[in-house]
């Protein structure tokens, strides 16, 4: 998936000289996860460069560059570090088009690795997507496989509005399904690891049915797509797993069609439960599908604690917790 993300930036920089890439350790070294490796050598230091450790500065400078007419794609080293830039994202990037009535726009992408499962503790594991889906003017994307990651990132870079691009870091190397005690199949040996060459896009705002099923709809994104798939396989419940891919704007049509078909719904995310994006999903499902539902909409999420270190796998909503929710929803 790292190669796919890198390829998306490479292709975009090659096609449009307005695309610039910067962030902490992003230039010479190519990023701590190596997502920008080789871009500085290929496109020069003024199009891919290291930034000072100042997230507000990185995003603030990107907003100014976008107002000028460039298309910056910046990296925040971990999603957990984005908060100093929150004012720039919420009060500025998201609002510039609206408040200037389109005189100035903000076509920036803010990439950041998200999610846990790497023993990163509370500063390298968070999933802050709901802090961004709450903000009008932003788009929020979470890819779950290399092909999507490349196509969505190219689409995000080409999008006329600011996009928060959350990369589940536990998926960088393969489709991790929550079984932390088992090896992960590398993307090179997985069908979704095959990535198209060159330029293509996966449109923002379109969900994908990851695993078709008839018994219950699971709404998931990022790492949880594979956790839900594993839970369905292991529980024997024929769940339809929807990979939302874009949280904002949400592909509500795909969600509603599936829930009306299965008449049951479980919402899964790694982020903390309270006011998480799952709350929005559950509310939408009951608004749109109430008279079709056979059971209450269930949520499986991270506990409302900071992301712990030693207890990482107690915290992580793994296949067993998802399977329990599937069973409970089927029995309701």
């Amino acid at each position: 998936m790292i190669e796919a993300i890198r390829s998306a930036m490479d292709v975009s920089m090659g096609r449009d000289e307005k695309v610039v890439v910067f962030g902490e350790d992003v230039g010479y070294f190519g990023g701590v996860f190596r997502c920008t490796q080789g871009l500085q050598q290929k496109y020069g230091v003024t199009r891919c460069f290291d930034a000072p450790i100042n997230e507000a500065g990185i995003v603030g400078a990107a907003i100014g560059m976008a107002a000028y007419g460039l298309r910056p794609c910046v990296e925040i080293q971990f999603a957990d570090y984005v908060y100093p830039a929150y004012d720039q994202i919420v009060s500025e990037a998201a609002r510039v088009r609206y408040r200037s009535n389109g005189q100035f726009t903000c076509p920036i992408v803010v990439r950041m690795p998200t999610g846990g499962g790497i023993f990163g503790g509370q500063t390298h594991s968070q999933s802050p997507e709901a802090l961004f889906t709450h903000v009008s003017g932003l788009k929020v994307v979470v890819p779950s496989n290399p092909q999507d990651a490349k196509g969505l990132l190219i689409a995000a870079i080409e999008d006329p509005d600011p996009v928060i691009f959350l990369e589940p870091k536990r998926l960088y190397n393969g489709p991790f399904d929550g079984h932390h005690d088992r090896p992960v199949t590398p993307w090179s040996k997985h069908p979704l690891g095959e990535v198209e060459e060159g330029h293509f896009t996966v449109p923002l705002g379109q969900a994908q049915i990851h695993r078709p099923g008839a018994a219950v709809t699971v709404l998931a994104y990022g790492t949880m797509v594979y956790v839900a798939e594993a839970a369905a396989g292991e529980s024997g419940i024929d769940a339809e797993v929807i990979d939302l891919r874009t949280l904002l704007p949400l592909d509500l049509d795909t969600v509603v069609a599936s829930v009306k078909k299965t008449r049951r719904c479980v919402v899964v995310h790694e982020a903390t439960l309270t006011s998480g994006f799952g709350a929005e999903l559950a509310a939408l499902v009951q608004e749109e599908c109430f008279w079709h539902l056979e059971a209450p909409v269930a949520r499986v999420a991270g506990y409302d604690t900071p992301y712990p270190h030693a207890q990482e796998w107690d915290y992580f909503p793994g296949p067993q917790r998802v399977a329990e929710a599937l069973s409970a929803t089927m029995e309701a």
Binding site: V20, T46, R47, A51, P52, N54, A56, G57, G60, A61, A62, I63, G64, M65, A67, Y68, G69, L70, P84, D87, Q88, S91, E92, R95, V96, R97, Y98, R99, S100, N101, G102, Q103, F104, T105, S136, G137, K139, P160, D161, G205, L248, P249, L250, L252, D253
Partner: protein, 410 residues
């Protein structure tokens, strides 16, 4: 050795408060013409003293003196005077309109007119300002129609920003004026980013960032200086030190630093202080900094030393926190009167012409207001539609907003 005393927290206080005699004896004012003008490619280490002095051109006799004088022709100076007088008349009318309920809020410039009016004259078409809420002189001196400004203030049907923004939070790309945020300091680093983009693109245009003395305490100020310094961005970073951040005197943001300009030293950025009430000095220093930026010599930090004569905004009453007569005691005088006296001194103006110009300018402002009010004011006449509220959040309206708009019946 004896035991140390218990620790004490230092909370700075201004020299005077309401009821006290105004006292600006702590503001050291060098003689006009006394501060040298270095070459634009000077090593910043050689001009560190400029961050502790004040560059002044106009002396008490109204003469333009010293090495910073002579950047403007008589005609340009008369234009400058008209710009400042226009801004003052505009403010007077709009303050009044706010009191009459024609808008919700207003912020005026009294005493600070020279800063934005003179700075604008040093820029070229295509350069971009990232202003705060007290630089409307950039628009007035840049030829932006007053009617458009008033339409925005009245949030009427002709408001170029469709009623979405607080009054005076203008935006005009065409006039090099980035959309005002209202959140403080965010624009300072954006100005640096814009300038970096211009350099990345091998363009010739430069940016100017604006911030108040109080907001220099924000982290974004530090971000801007780090980025400007690291990438030698073609940007002029302006601090408008008008002594007061609402009720908080400038010492709270400045702390132990001698001046705000001196903040630039740690970043290796040439840093100058200028008499912000001296139109000629502001222009000369702006020109110096703009030329540095344009010639790839990197950023400049300018502290404009001025005084906010009026209230912070229409929601503020300064008599609650500073002596009522403090503005009369401000040692740098009034920018309009100083430029007027200079023009009279050099035989390019007269009291009669000034009185006549005042009347003409006020007529122009009143006519603009009449025109704007035809399109409505905040609570009466034409106003932006509810549909406008839903538009422009994104380039293309996403389905969830479309559903909400439909539900709202618009």
């Amino acid at each position: 050795m004896s035991e140390p005393e218990p620790l004490r927290l230092h909370v700075p206080e201004p020299e005077v408060r309401p009821g006290d005699e105004p006292d600006f004896s702590h503001v050291q004012i060098p003689k006009a013409g006394s501060v040298p003008r270095p070459e634009i490619d000077v090593d910043p280490r050689e001009i560190r003293d400029l961050a502790y002095s004040i560059i002044r051109v106009l002396n008490r006799q109204g003469e333009a003196v010293g090495p910073w004088a002579g950047t403007l022709t008589e005609e340009e100076l008369r234009d400058g005077l008209r710009h400042m007088m226009t801004l003052r008349a505009f403010d007077a009318r709009m303050q009044n309109a706010q009191r009459q309920g024609k808008t919700s809020f207003y912020m005026q410039h009294m005493g600070e007119e020279a800063v934005s009016c003179a700075f604008r004259r040093a820029l070229e078409p295509g350069d971009m300002n990232f202003p705060t809420y007290r630089q409307a002189g950039l628009l007035i001196a840049g030829g932006y129609p007053m009617v458009e400004m008033m339409n925005q203030i009245f949030s009427n049907e002709a408001d170029p920003l469709k009623g979405r923004q607080l009054p005076i939070m203008y935006s005009s790309k065409e006039h090099g004026f980035f959309s005002i945020s209202g959140n403080l300091a965010t624009q300072f680093i954006q100005a640096v980013g814009w300038a970096m983009a211009s350099a990345i693109s091998r363009d010739t245009r430069i940016a100017a960032g604006w911030i108040g003395d109080g907001s220099t305490a924000e982290s974004d100020f530090h971000a801007a200086l780090v980025f400007a310094s690291t990438y030698r961005a073609p940007v002029v970073l302006n601090i408008v030190n008008n002594q007061w951040a609402i009720s908080t005197y400038q010492g709270i943001a400045r702390g132990g630093s001698g001046t705000f300009a001196a903040r630039g030293h740690g970043f290796g950025i040439p840093s100058l202080r200028v008499d912000g009430n001296d139109y000629l000095a502001v222009h000369a220093v702006a020109k110096w900094a703009v030329e540095r930026a344009r010639r790839n010599l990197g950023p400049t930090l300018i502290e404009h030393v001025t005084y906010r004569v009026g209230a912070h905004s229409s929601s503020d009453d300064p008599s609650a926190y500073r002596p009522k007569t403090e503005s009369d005691a401000w040692p740098l005088g009034d920018p309009v009167i100083r430029l007027k006296n200079h023009l009279i001194r050099i035989g390019a103006w007269s009291d009669e012409r000034h009185t006549q110009a005042e009347a003409e300018i006020m007529d122009g402002v009143v006519a603009a207001q009449r025109e704007a009010e035809k399109h409505g004011t905040l609570h009466s006449g034409g106003k932006p539609s509810t549909r406008d509220m839903f538009e422009g959040v994104y380039a293309t309206m996403p389905p969830h907003l479309r559903r909400q708009r439909q539900k709202a019946g618009v």
